[in-house]
């Protein structure tokens, strides 16, 4: 079921946007047709057409349908191993069918047709009259007139031909585009790792006992988890602590109902994932596990209707600290709020076992504290057990019991990673390089959705300086990062970069200030690591430069030939840094460089930044990890609700009162993937 949904969503989300670029619209549906059954394609097509209707109206909805035909043809031919001739033949057929339909539609809506044709004729006549003023061009004007008449007289023939040619061209393009898309996606995990075989025993997940339980993924050469012995009973709050790759997510999956490949998992009934009284999960990424459009919708999303009626949404929201926010749009919540909402959705199922799988890793310290406190309270208030899986040892402090995992085995304690030592700078700072004066920014100015993200920021960064800007969710930090990189021109004030030619606005020199987004994967757009770094380096970047850049970030040179999709999250982050090194910028802005990394990864990135700073690069780090980052930074400033009090030349104005709803709008929707 989930597998099908997965495919549906891919296309459903992509098509309405892509429909604007008609040429590419068929590719997403082609991918779907290639991977899943025809029924999936059909469902996705219907959904895409309906959404297009809501977004843009009737005519684009029809365009979506025709693109789906092409996508289906290309995808299915590719799956069956057919070639270009097959695609050509089928697209001619589909083209004929759709062009006949278009002619039919124009026949039915004859008045609209007349309206358009008369306009075309008038415009053509106007052009002719203008041309006629030059007697020498009389022939040209006559030609235009006769062509117009010809086309309008035989309009159905031209519509037929035009649509046909368009469809065939789209099919050809999609064929090649889909080929390269599929090449890249071979590395993507396509399976739903939570999908467990059906278990028809009554739901009763607790107490659960793992006896020498091991797990090996299909096709893997080693066990992801070996010989685990634990018991979890009602009323317990258990923490599982381990670094990346220690097998903690695998343990989550065993607890959630996937059978082990070795040893035994005993529970009185079935795990009942997501069922009433069963097991509930809170996952890592806040925004992708929020399924409802409004907060209250998300709480009951997926429940059977008769059960949903009995859920007391308000009191659940009150329990997780979101009282009275039932009609708020989920997209406007902060990461921490979304995670607490996920807990409320889990509680709506009255679970016996609640597992939070790295639920704290993507949110800021305040959000993390609130979430852990909430999870700690639950076993005391409800007959249930809570398992918190994390790589922050600090999160586990409140737990009744802590299980440490390392390399897939249970250990007594984890090897301690030294906190990055305060690293003194060796080179001197230079003259002011980047200057922000009175920078204000309002998104969607003049519309009902206007949201002010920055209220006058003054900041001077010197050459070679490492500056830490501390800001929580919704402080406007992503907006500030985009402005400093020149991607957004601020609505007021200026942001200038000084060099030999004097000071010029950054927005006119995009690329001089490099920006590492929090979500590194979105920045990697080429097939392989080497191609990626070469692309950033610009012309003349050879394999030697690529090797050097990889050395600079401490990655093995062998990584260069790997596919982008093969990289782990930490590796992707380093590749972005390597690419930035290769592009030789003057200033680097890093947005949350430590998000989602385990202690080892953090220590390594901090050390790497110290090296970059010592090589003379100007660094601006925007983060909420004060403790780790301040080790490398010369100066720390705080960004609070859109201004920096330390450097402000004039007191920040009181924020103008707006509708409560608009205040909640997350202004840094631009890059904030907390």
């Amino acid at each position: 079921m989930a597998g099908v949904t997965v495919g549906l969503v891919v296309v459903g989300t992509v098509v309405p946007i892509a429909a604007a670029l008609n040429l590419v619209a068929a590719v997403p549906l082609g991918l779907l047709a290639h991977r899943y059954r025809v029924r999936t394609l059909f469902t996705a097509t219907v959904a895409a057409a309906l959404v297009t209707f809501v977004v843009a109206g009737l005519v684009p909805a029809f365009a979506t349908l025709s693109m789906a035909t092409i996508g289906g043809i290309v995808g299915i031919v590719k799956r069956r191993g057919g070639g270009l001739p097959a695609v050509f033949g089928l697209s001619v057929l589909a083209g004929l069918a759709w062009s006949a339909t278009s002619v039919g539609v124009l026949l039915v809506f004859s008045r609209t047709r007349e309206l358009l044709f008369v306009t075309i004729r008038n415009t053509s006549e106007g052009v002719q009259r203008i041309i006629d003023k030059q007697p020498r061009l009389h022939g040209l004007s006559h030609t235009i007139g006769s062509i117009t008449d010809l086309v309008l007289h035989w309009w159905w023939l031209y519509v037929l031909g035009g649509v046909l040619v368009g469809m065939i061209a789209t099919a050809m393009f999609s064929w090649f585009a889909l080929g390269s898309v599929l090449d890249r996606l071979t590395w993507l995990p396509g399976r739903d790792q939570l999908d467990a075989p059906p278990d028809d025993r009554p739901v009763a997940p607790l107490p659960v006992t793992l006896t020498r339980a091991s797990f090996r993924y299909p096709g893997a050469r080693t066990d992801a988890l070996s010989e685990i012995d634990i018991t979890i009973s009602v009323g317990e709050f258990v923490a599982v602590v381990g670094h990346n790759g220690s097998g903690k997510s695998t343990l989550t999956r065993l607890l959630a109902g996937r059978p082990p490949t070795g040893g035994a998992v005993d529970r009185p009934g079935s795990a009942g994932l997501g069922l009433l009284g069963g097991t509930a999960l809170v996952l890592q990424r806040p925004e992708s596990q929020t399924l409802g459009v409004q907060v209250a919708d998300d709480v009951v999303w997926g429940l059977p209707p008769e059960l949903a009626e009995r859920v007391d949404v308000e009191s659940l929201l009150g329990e997780v600290g979101l009282d009275g926010m039932g009609t708020t749009e989920t997209a406007t919540l902060s990461g921490g709020q979304q995670q607490r909402l996920a807990v409320a959705a889990a509680l709506a199922r009255r679970p016996a076992l609640l597992i939070a799988d790295e639920a704290t890793s993507m949110i800021d310290p305040d959000g993390r504290r609130d979430l852990v406190a909430l999870l700690t309270r639950l076993p005391r208030r409800h007959p249930m057990a809570v398992v918190l899986v994390t790589h922050h040892e600090a999160d586990a402090a409140a737990a009744d019991r802590v299980i440490h995992l390392s390399g897939g085995r249970q250990v007594d304690r984890l090897p301690a990673w030294p906190r990055p030592a305060r690293n003194r700078r060796r080179s001197r700072m230079g003259e002011p390089l980047l200057e922000l004066r009175g920078v204000r920014h309002t998104y969607n100015r003049g519309t009902p959705w206007a949201a002010t993200a920055l209220h006058g920021v003054d900041l001077t960064v010197r050459r070679g300086e490492a500056l830490l800007i501390v800001g929580g969710n919704g402080s406007g930090k992503s907006t500030l990062a985009w402005i400093m990189a020149g991607l957004i021109a601020p609505s007021e004030g200026r942001c200038e970069l000084r060099d030999f030619g004097g000071a010029r606005p950054v927005a006119k020199r995009i690329g001089a200030v490099a920006l590492a987004f929090q979500h590194s994967r979105l920045q990697l757009q080429r097939q392989t690591v080497a191609a990626e770094i070469e692309d950033w380096g610009g012309q003349g970047t050879g394999s030697a430069a690529v090797g050097k850049a990889l050395d600079a970030v401490g990655l093995d040179r062998a990584v260069a030939s790997r596919s982008i999709e093969e990289l782990s999250g930490g590796q992707a982050k380093r590749v972005v840094l390597a690419a930035i090194v290769a592009s030789r910028p003057q200033v680097v802005v890093l947005d949350e460089p430590l998000a989602g990394l385990d202690p080892q990864g953090r220590a390594e990135v901090v050390e790497l930044l110290a090296r970059l700073r010592d090589s003379g690069l100007t660094l601006i780090v925007i983060s909420h990890d004060v403790e780790d980052m301040s080790a490398v930074c010369d100066r720390t400033v705080h960004l609070r609700s859109g201004s920096i009090p330390e450097t402000a030349t004039q007191p920040a104005p009181a924020p103008a009162p707006t509708l409560a709803r608009l205040d909640l709008q997350r202004p840094d929707a631009t890059g904030g993937h907390q």
Binding site: A2, T5, V9, V10, T13, V14, I17, P28, L31, A44, V46, A47, V51, F53, V54, V55, G57, L58, V59, T112, L115, N122, T123, R129, I130, A177, L194, D195, L273, G274, L275, L283, S288, Q289, T290, L291, G292, Q294, D297, W301, G302, A308, T330, G446, P448, W449, A450, A485, G511, F517, H519, R521, L522, Q525, Q539, S583, L659, L662, A669, T670
Partner: protein, 246 residues
Amino acid sequence: MSTMVLLREVPVPSPVHRLWAGTKMVAVFLLNLVVMLLPSWPVLGMVVAFLIVIGLVARLPLGTLPRLPWPFWALMFGAGLLNIPAGGAAVLHYVLTIMFGLIMVVTSFLIAWTTPMGEIAPALAKLGAPLRLLRVPVDEWAVVVALTLRGLPLLLDEMRILRAARRLRPKDGLVQRATDNPLVDILTAAMAVSTRRAGELGEAITARGGTGQLTAYPSSPGRRDAIALIIVAAICLAAVVVTFVR
């Protein structure tokens, strides 16, 4: 930089906002149909007047209207100038055509401006209920529509970041730009990102035990909706009468 606001409700209370989502979709469909069947001055005038009234009743501020980039207006104005030598009637006809296009777009925007996106999918499921007798998987469609509407803002965000990441790269010479295909690159990256995202959504759905309820406050059509539909039907009827009975 101009950002299009897509699929956001204008957060004001109004009678139009309180209508059932299905009513609004049917109304927009009917209006689109009438405009396409009978694009004449009286009909378009009537529809425009109706849309303005709706806008007032829904308390939509003027700023809600999307601001199109100036080249669009320039192009439109330029094409209008070309019609001047063909005579006054031609210009008027041109204006009618443009109005026709704008009406088609603005009517569908009205749904998004006055409806929380969460209500769309359940309304579609209810509208499609008769199809269930023909064993059409209406509920499955509704779930996918709901997820699509939920995923769209996330996707738009990611597209913005993809585009920004692209702009940050050095611009190459013409030769190199011709040999590689940025469109395919971006497309591939977008597909990879959405596949990952979809995988996560899939896991989230599994974690909730599959699909089911879509909204916390199910709404259904009431008397208000009947009145609204009668008004729309009256306008459609009036359009037909105006066109054929002279």
